[in-house]
Homo-oligomer: 417 residues x 2
């Protein structure tokens, strides 16, 4: 370990707070939608800071922002690290932005030391991680890794009818001189720092989470169809009451799927009843299912059981179960995780292994290169809220760990895959 | 029984169809809201027909319309018969209007025969039975019977912010010369014809339903309170999931309350989930309960059990059960029911005893004088829909039965109460 500081913690915090001014909400949060004027302004600010340290900006067809520190071998696959600059409509200062600024600070500090890495180092801000303006999210990393095609991505529209394609063209138009990279390139490794978005680090008093992986997620849309009737006249035994059937289905799902094991997460979060009038027997109930588990075998079995249970409990109503998201769990690279744990130990930060319950761009990067994530605590586990908060010490600790891992990789031979 | 026809069936049908032109919807239904221009126009048309037969219009503070045929003893309590002229927004031609036009036809036919009844006969159109513009309904009959005070009634507002008071003043302003009666007066008896709004008469092939009473009804608003959480991070055993608790409560209520006996009607018709987002554990579910039964003892016991079951099944969430409507069943006057059954028999119309599952103004009149109702079939049991339909023969049969009962009462000594 080097004896001089790996990062400038004051500069990092000052820049992170300055970035939070762009799209600031009156309640102290941030509203910085993907491809908006706010995100364009955030790009300009970040590009300015990167430029002072000699990093070169570029973009790609998916609107990802890359800031490159040149290495000795420009043809070797670069190290990639970053997160995203977009936020939820009533989001906070840290979700995404902390990861981009941590990556930039680590690279700027390294560059400031005058050492030239063996390969390029690229800070990245992925386009539309949140998915709040254009659904679904993680568009930039999915396009980069070939998970989704650009035609489908460009066709998505926001609530005002503006397409991603139009918004992307507008973004690129705002940076006319910027170099365009081909979409997707081989990377040596990917690192991402993020706030935990959960309460575990705070509860354990740990500054650093060594993320083991991202738990798998399946979502479904279920529709129970019955028949409408007058609440005062239709005999109980003649009814095909969609709400009564839904209650049976939901009760059975919570009891069985919710009790698979201690790691399962089962949620019915959205319910729509038709016609939803007090004196009318409901004809239709549609509802969402969100199912998560770190082990894919358990997730798959639970997912299959959901459909069977719905069909078992819905009669005399009919039921249709439509799968939407099907994202298996992933396990982050063991060597990168060991490097993160080692750096935390060196720097005397308390650390623990932690599973990411939420999705991140790193999920997609892990399919194409060794990838890992560093979590830092956030107050009360709250995120996607305006009072989202991470302590300056934790932001600095996570960034210093990231900087140490980066430094080890930047001067090491290629990782054997 | 008289050998000449008791009513003019063609005139009745023609007038009923002419009335349906006021507020007619493109799909063949009627939208004639309480105290609207449509209801004012309907008043003018009905008052005109009544005037041709010598009936005198009057109103009261509650905006009820009275059309009086003078009897020999003007001080004796009059016979009262009628229904309502307002409709649901996508209502039909018969719900309410058939009862007013049947009453008018019965009285006009009687007057046309040149006979003077022993007491006044008053056709009534009650204000705001439906409760769709101003909630809740049955305002006119509740004010008439002293069930609700005029201050509370006048304060209710429609979706545009117009109060019942303002709308009532506007109605009265539209009929400047009309006499005002004091609110509420002693009546000798009350009779109301109505479409069944259910499938029983049609299924049994009966033209006449001798209504035994109106089943009791209780409604409740239930709120289940839990705690919001992230669907991906909050452990299942840590959750206070309001939707999971609702499913337990609703499932238990349907299973137990819905199976009390063959006459119970139990409906959860409206459900509101907060925040109702797929990836958020719901913090709050509020829902409506509509409970009906012809026997008050059963209704009361089931109502009490609802609260206990909610409290038993909701934990770890909390629950509050707020009673709203509490309308006991009523039994219509046995002598009037016998008169209706006898008239149907005389006229060779098939008839059956039937319980009203829906509420009617007669519910309130039955508290202050002998009251009864005649039901006629409606196609497929459908009402509150634009394709609501009653056959001309059934409208005529019900009106002729009403006319015979009216004639018997009009020349008989007072009913002993």
């Amino acid at each position: 370990m080097t004896s001089e500081p790996l990062i400038n913690a004051d500069r990092l915090w000052t820049r992170l707070m300055a970035l939070a001014e762009i799209g600031a909400t009156p309640a102290g949060g941030v509203n910085r939608q993907a491809l908006s004027d706010g995100e364009i302004a955030a790009w300009r600010r970040v590009i300015g800071w990167a430029g002072e340290a000699g990093l070169t900006p570029s973009t790609d067809a998916a609107g990802n922002l890359f800031l490159t520190l040149a290495g000795r071998d420009r043809t070797a696959p670069p190290l990639l690290l970053g997160s995203h600059l977009d936020s939820q409509p009533t989001g906070g200062k840290f979700d995404g932005a902390a990861g981009v600024m941590a990556a930039l600070e680590a690279v700027v500090s390294l560059a400031g030391r005058g050492e030239t890495p063996v390969r390029d180092i690229v800070v990245v801000a992925w386009m539309n991680e949140e998915g709040s303006r254009f659904a679904p999210g993680m568009m930039g990393s999915e396009a980069f890794t070939g998970e989704r095609g650009m035609d489908a991505i460009r066709a998505a529209r926001d609530a005002d009818g503006i397409s991603v394609g139009e918004a992307l063209d507008r973004l690129h138009h705002a940076f006319p001189g910027m170099a365009h990279r081909p979409l997707g390139f081989a990377a040596e490794a990917y690192l991402e720092l993020h706030i935990e978005q959960g309460p575990l680090l705070e509860a354990a008093g740990c500054a650093i989470g060594v993320v083991t992986g991202i738990q798998g997620k399946k979502t479904f849309q279920v529709v129970v169809e019955g028949a409408e009737g007058h609440a005062g006249t239709l005999a109980q035994q003649e009814r095909r009451d969609a709400l009564a059937a839904f209650a049976e289905v939901a009760s059975a799902l919570h009891a069985e799927i919710g009790a698979v094991d201690a790691d399962i997460k089962f949620t019915i979060g959205r319910v729509t009843v038709v016609p939803n009038a007090p004196s009318v027997v409901p004809s239709r109930v549609s509802f969402s299912i969100d199912l998560r588990h770190p082990e894919n075998a358990v997730l798959d079995a639970a997912g299959a059981r959901i459909k069977a249970l719905c069909q078992e409990k819905a009669p005399p109503c009919s039921v249709t179960v439509t799968p939407l998201v099907d994202a298996p769990s992933n396990v982050f690279d063991p060597r990168l995780r060991a490097s993160i744990a080692g750096a935390a130990r060196d720097q005397q930060h308390s650390a623990m292994a932690i599973l990411s319950a939420a999705g991140h761009d790193a999920r997609h990067l892990a399919k194409v290169c060794p990838a890992a994530m560093i979590f830092i605590p956030c107050r009360d586990g709250a995120s996607h809220v305006e009072h989202e908060w991470a302590e300056p010490d934790h932001v600095a600790a996570g960034t210093a760990v990231l900087a140490q891992v980066l430094r080890e990789l930047a001067f090491a031979p290629a990782i054997e895959v």
